[in-house]
């Protein structure tokens, strides 16, 4: 009786002991493995085909392969560089110049975009009708116009209005703005004083962080702990700082730090465009905080600034951080639009200029993409860590 039921059952759901193949295909697990093997095989075949085609095409076009070219002299100049670079430097150095220029504009852009985004996002919710409308106009206009168009507008229209070097705009203090860029003083350190200052600054920052964590110090106190010791150290060392002022000599400014117009246009376009998106994230985050929280804070008699800082924003951050992460990543990736106005970022220096000189498209594009992938991965990891720290600790998740 029992064996009869068993054989009937296995027949009904398509299992038969004598046909292993049929049984295998009916079993979802085995079927899954067969399918996966097929997909893997197809993918491998596809990649093999691509590699073979590429190798053949490269041989035919007589293009070398490998990364040996990185040690050859680059032979082109770069007009904006954070490290020493000249046309005699090798391609690897040109690559790092590009990476650093990309990182510089991305980091500054992220800071500015956050600043703009939070101010405009909070202004959007202001009880002041005019402020809210202005912020709304800012967001709706800038979000809906392509970044490249905004970049062209800043670079070819707004910055063209700037005066020539002889008639530079200057607010004083050695800062000059003209159609060749922004010139600001550079801080010069007496030999051997920069390193101790950095150590002192780092130590006092750690101290400030510790004070905030351990003793719940706030605001000015934390700032004092973090800033005063390095300043004291500077006084003890006899203020070993001097300023290198930009001075107009002949045809151009000498000394100081010069920021080329391409950099300024890119930074403005990136931070304003991304700032508009961040503002929307901030607005939805603030609106996600339950009304009762604000009402309770008002009932406790907190002033509106404190309500924003201590009640609304900490809770809103949980909603804001995930989309903020993707905005930061977007900004970093969008910095590659630099190529359109010739700011020497990674794409212009490496995937464009170096590529046209060497012709090794596969290696160069792969290296360029790898850098962006690494940056994306790094930012995601950091923001995920930050997000996990902010997340609501509920029962059972501790």
């Amino acid at each position: 009786m029992g064996s009869m039921i068993k054989s009937w059952l296995s027949g009904a759901i398509g299992l038969s002991d004598d046909n292993a193949l049929a049984r295998g295909f009916q079993d979802p697990r085995i079927r899954g493995w067969i399918m996966q093997a097929a997909v893997l095989l197809l993918a491998a075949l596809g990649i093999f085909e691509l590699v073979q085609n590429t190798v053949l095409n490269l041989q035919k076009a007589n293009i070398a392969s490998g990364f040996g070219f990185l040690e050859n002299p680059a032979g082109f100049a770069i007009n904006f560089s954070l490290i020493d670079y000249s046309a005699q430097s090798d391609f690897l150095r040109a690559f790092f110049v590009g990476v650093l220029n990309t990182l510089l504009v991305a980091v500054l852009g992220i800071l500015l975009a956050t600043l703009i985004g939070f101010s405009v996002g909070i202004a959007r919710l202001s009880p002041n009708w005019l402020v809210a409308r202005l912020a709304g106009f800012f967001i709706e206009t800038l979000r809906n116009i392509p970044l490249l168009l905004q970049l062209f507008f800043w670079y070819f229209v707004v910055l063209q209005l700037l005066p020539s070097q002889a008639e530079s705009l200057t607010p004083g203090g050695g800062i000059f703005l003209n159609n060749r860029g922004l010139f600001v003083p550079r801080i010069l350190w007496e030999a051997g004083t920069f390193a101790p200052f950095c150590v002192a600054l780092f130590a006092s920052l750690v101290l400030g962080f510790f004070a905030r964590k351990r003793f719940a110090f706030e605001g000015w106190k934390v700032l004092g702990i973090a800033v005063l010791p390095p300043l004291l150290l500077l006084l003890v060392l006899g203020w070993p700082l001097s300023l290198d002022m930009p001075v107009l000599e002949g045809f151009g400014f000498q000394g100081g730090i010069s920021l080329i117009p391409e950099f300024i246009a890119l930074l403005l376009a990136l931070s304003i465009y991304t700032g508009a998106f961040v503002a929307e994230n901030v607005r939805s985050g603030v609106q996600a905080v339950p009304k009762g929280q604000v009402e309770a804070a008002k009932a406790l008699g907190l002033p509106s600034g404190l309500i924003m800082r201590k009640i609304i924003l900490p809770q809103a951050m949980r909603v804001i951080v995930p989309p903020l992460t993707s905005q930061y990543l977007n900004l970093t990736k969008n910095s590659s639009l630099a190529v359109a106005i010739a700011y020497p970022d990674l794409v212009l220096v490496f995937a464009n200029t170096a590529l046209s000189q060497v012709g090794q498209a596969v290696e160069i594009i792969a290296m360029t993409m790898a850098v962006y992938l690494l940056i994306s991965l790094g930012t995601s990891l950091f923001m995920n860590w930050y997000n996990a720290r902010l997340a609501l600790k509920e029962r059972g998740t501790a």
Binding site: E140, T141, N144, I145, Q150, Y372
Partner: protein, 372 residues
């Protein structure tokens, strides 16, 4: 005996004039406190400093009609709208031959009719219309636009340009990325480790790199990948790049929708004995895709704006053709570039703003079931 008790209710007094009407509104919304008053004044100053000069430039001092740029070059001239007027045909169609312009017009008309039919709520045969839009229409459009079939003369893709090219790239990118994105999203949520890993790698790779490098790759690397004798023209290569790029973003949008379908739906489908594809096609995806319509529209808005990047690899999209016309010596003036950019910005803004409003409208429509 006379009493002084009122027997009738006294008519309500009007509210104090300071709390009603325009003055009351202003006191509440603009001058409620000292800080607020200062902010209002600062904002008013910003508006007063920026709006009148822009209005003067764009309207009062603008050159509306002219046969060449001499009026725009005059001292104190504003926006050179005559430039836009003279070049309007190029801005829309690029160098597409003037006598063949009915072809893109026909395709755009048919496309928007088809799209409107798909977007109309409660349209009969919606599935078929959507399938036509996704699979048959692109081939038909290629046949008509490129020609060489139905007795039409061939128009090379290098002659396509302007808004036409922008729409072609954005629309084919989104149409190709939709099915691919759905497959990738299903793959990412699959229980089969190999398929899941491949999907994750594919999605994260395309999401991690900027579109500019993708376009560079499409223009310089793609020809290396192809076997001998096979060549794609630049437009097709750009579309492939854009479609692969967009499919990764689409996959993430669709994944959000898949996660929003309650697990009871999956379990019930399995309990009914449906196969994986039946479960997904009949139960899960119809619910998931409904939820993500706003997300899909937002992806499209992003893609539409990003199509401007194709000018970097030498295609003349809407922005590219406007920029190319700045070099026309006939129209060269200090105002030409600004006029062109403002015009381009206005057109892009209209498209994107309209779509974002549609997305908001759909969000409201779709959440009607959950609203109490």
């Amino acid at each position: 005996m006379e009493t002084y008790v009122k027997t009738r209710r006294h008519p309500a007094l009007p509210a104090p004039s300071r709390q009603t009407g325009l003055i009351g509104w202003m006191r509440r919304n603009l001058f409620s406190s000292a800080g607020n008053t200062i902010t209002t004044l600062v904002c008013a100053a910003i508006i007063a400093l920026t709006v009148p000069p822009f209005f003067n430039w764009a309207v009062l001092d603008a050159v509306w009609y002219a046969s060449d740029g001499s009026l725009c070059r005059a001292e104190g001239a504003g926006a050179c709208w005559a430039f836009v007027e003279a070049k309007f045909g190029q801005f829309i169609y690029g160098r597409y031959p003037a006598e063949e312009i009915w072809r893109p017009n026909l395709i755009l008309l048919l496309f928007f009719l088809n799209l409107a039919a798909v977007l109309t709520p409660r349209m009969p045969y919606k599935g078929w219309l959507a399938a036509t839009l996704l699979f048959i229409f692109p081939m038909f459009a290629w046949g008509v636009l490129h020609g060489g079939k139905f007795g039409l003369s061939v128009v090379e893709t290098s002659d396509w340009g302007g808004l036409l090219l922008t729409l072609v790239i954005a629309l084919s990118g989104i149409l190709a990325s939709l099915p691919l994105g759905i497959l990738l999203a299903l793959g990412r949520r699959s229980k089969l480790p190999v398929i899941r890993t491949l999907s994750v790698l594919f999605i994260e790779f395309w999401r991690g790199v900027p579109l500019v490098t993708v376009l560079f790759m499409a223009s310089v690397m793609l020809p290396l990948f192809l076997p001998e004798g096979v060549t794609f023209d630049l437009l097709l290569r750009a579309i492939i790049g854009v479609a692969l790029f967009a499919s990764a973003y689409m996959a993430e949008v669709v994944r959000g929708g898949l996660q929003a379908v309650p697990s009871g739906q999956y379990e019930a489908a399995k309990a009914l004995g449906l196969s994986y594809w039946q479960m997904m096609g009949l139960i899960v995806l119809p619910q998931a895709l409904r939820v993500v319509i706003p997300g899909i529209v937002n992806t499209f808005i992003g893609l539409f704006k990003d199509t401007t990047l194709v000018l970097i690899i030498g295609l003349f999209d809407f922005l590219g053709i406007i920029r190319a016309n700045f070099t026309d010596a006939n129209w060269a003036s200090p105002n030409t570039a600004a006029t062109g950019y403002v015009f381009a910005a206005f057109v892009f803004w209209m498209f994107c703003f309209a779509m974002s409003r549609y997305s908001l409208y759909m969000e409201k429509q779709l959440s009607q079931g959950e609203r109490r």
